[in-house]
Amino acid sequence: MKLTIEKVTKSYGEKVAVNDLSFELTEGVYGFLGSNGSGKTTLMRILASVSKPTSGRVLFDGEDIRTLDEKYRDMLGYSPQHIGYYKNFTVQKFMLYIASLKGIERQQAKQKVDELLELVNLTENNKVKMSKLSGGMKQRVGIAQALLNDPQILIVDEPTAGLDPKERVRFRNLLSKISANRIVLLSTHIVSDIEFIAKEVMILKEGVLIQKESPKKLLEGIRNKVWTATVNEEEVADLQAHFRCGNIAHNDERFDIRLLSETKPHSNAVQTKPNLEDLYLYYFEEDGVA
């Protein structure tokens, strides 16, 4: 099973949202990382066949997904960034509706809907109107509907946006449960979402893919560049002016600051083990450097 993205570009007028992307995906979880507007949603829409690339194409096992048409969509589960729904539909009715869109027989659909609502912990809420659900519950319905046809390709756009930390943990557990034997694509701008479950992290910036590596490899790349230092208030301002700085923690009169630098940034700075937050900082916060 292989999804090939071949020179895919998508422009909206002057704006190039996705710029000449080429890469390949096989079974496993892929995390799309990128700030707002970096092109994650645009790319996922193209892969979900709800949007067409301006140029380039997407192949599934060597065949253009536009030729595969229904056959491709039959293998697809897509949970969009904003979970759309009809206000007066209950959770169960909504799920049954999506099941019918996916061409699942009524009897089988009922069973599948129950099963999936159980999986996402919404069995109790199946008679609740969609409009009455919390953000986290809606996201879970989003995942559940995407799984109705047991898709080989699962695309989930920003599933953790608007979730509280506990819900995020629950979501990660859910995702690791369902990710076997599928190509799973997950976009987020929250690094911890994918730190442990992603086979590869793909970093998008202004529509360009700037990294596609396992989290481990990516972290190795910035191994000697992460520092922590304990400094006073003036020095904080000075460091922030010259380096990309992450967390700053108040510690009595002094501050613990985490920052990126090729060389030792301060006399009492010590090197520390990088995490994906640093990686994010490394790729996305360079504008902060004077």
Binding site: E70, R73, G84, I98
Partner: protein
């Protein structure tokens, strides 16, 4: 497919708006009936004396009686004026009689005109002469009966029905796709196996079922209310009894014409429903969808009624949804279009035109949805 259709119907009929609008429209378009009086038994009794085929003898007798009555009434009016009295110069019964005699003369006029036109046609050699002759030859308007109910029913179908049907279709169907777009449900639709082609087909069928139900309920209301008021007589009299169709070459009985009228109305409604669905598939906003459909429906009417233009253009504009749903202009005069030297009657042109548009819009909608992208 069946469950897709089921959901589409569910979504359509879950719209509370349509019920309020439907009831409101039926009440408003029927309020004129409050002015109607039910015919008295005596009135119907008088009519039944004259009911049946109008022979030469009957027509002449009615003329004689009518003159007598008129002389009598004139005299009474004079007397009343002399005495300075005010009030009715004639009784209910006399009024009914005069009305009846005049109707007999009126329908006799249509018969005479047919004969005249037929003799005119004998001298003519135009493309449609043979066609017109063959239609006129069949005509026989001589059956007389009380026919208020069918007349009113036919009148309602060609006036208020099109308002009711047109608005109900626009309100019910404009959101069929637009609402999927604006709610974000399009994402599931367009990424699912059956959410493009099959769903488009399901929506088409659902729209047609909705249309059928609207037209049938409107018709039921029309029939029941008129028959309740005026009884069920007169269906076999011809449409020439209705002033609008007095010059019509088509000698249909009221029942024949009403069925034809209803059929064409329904066909045009089906076609309009498909147009609305097509427009909805292009509009992300329900209101825009509604306004565009409304404009396509209403604008030709205002142009035709308000703007000066050559006859051929006026006739052409009448082949728009509103007028074809109104039906009447197809039958009020002898009108045919020459297609490859073959005269085709307006009603057939209209039917063909509606069928072509229906197929076109249904097909295009499916095409649009096959390649649709989210915005």
């Amino acid at each position: 497919m069946r469950s897709l259709l089921g959901f589409e119907l569910y979504k359509l009929f879950k719209q509370k708006m349509i019920y309020l609008t439907f009831i409101g429209l039926l009440i408003i378009t029927s309020s004129y009936m409050l002015n109607f009086e039910r015919p008295s038994d005596a009135e119907k009794e008088l009519y039944s004396k004259w009911e049946g085929t109008l022979t030469q003898e009957k027509v002449e007798r009615s003329q004689v009686e009518n003159e007598k009555l008129n002389v009598l009434i004139d005299k009474r009016v004079e007397e009343m004026e002399e005495k300075g009295e005010v009030g009715a110069a004639f009784s209910e019964e006399e009024a009914t009689k005069v009305g009846m005699y005049e109707t007999i003369a009126f329908i006799q006029g249509a018969d005479d005109r047919t004969a005249l036109r037929l003799s005119e046609l004998e001298g003519e050699e135009s493309l449609s002469t043979a066609l017109e002759t063959s239609i006129l030859k069949e005509n026989d308007f001589s059956y007389f009966a009380y026919n208020k109910a069918p007349r009113e029913i036919i009148d309602y179908t060609s006036t208020f029905s099109l308002v009711v049907t047109g608005l109900m279709l626009m309100i019910g169907l404009s959101g069929m796709y637009s609402r999927e777009y604006s709610s974000g449900v399009e994402n599931y639709m367009l990424s699912s196996k059956r959410g493009r082609k099959d769903l488009a087909r399901a929506k088409i069928i659902a729209a047609l079922i909705y249309t059928f139900i609207i037209v049938v309920i409107g018709e039921a209301w029309n029939i029941i209310s008129k028959i309740y008021l005026f009884g069920n007589e007169g269906w076999s009299t011809t449409i020439q009894y209705i002033f609008k169709y007095h010059f019509s070459p088509f000698g249909f009985s009221m029942i024949e014409y009403h069925l034809i009228q209803l059929g064409i109305h329904l066909l045009a409604a089906f076609s309009f429903a498909l147009l609305i669905l097509f427009i909805s598939s292009l509009c992300r906003n329900v209101l825009v969808s509604l306004i565009v459909s409304g404009a396509i429906f209403g604008v030709p009417y205002f142009i035709v009624e308000l703007v000066q233009m050559p006859t051929w253009l006026r006739e052409a504009l009448q082949f728009s949804y509103l007028y074809i749903m109104k039906v009447d202009f197809l039958f009020t005069n002898f009108n045919a279009i020459n297609v490859f030297g073959q005269p085709i009657l307006y009603p057939f042109v209209a039917i063909l035109w509606m069928l072509i548009l229906s197929v076109l819009f249904a097909y295009t909608t499916v095409r649009v949805m096959r390649t649709k992208q989210v915005a």
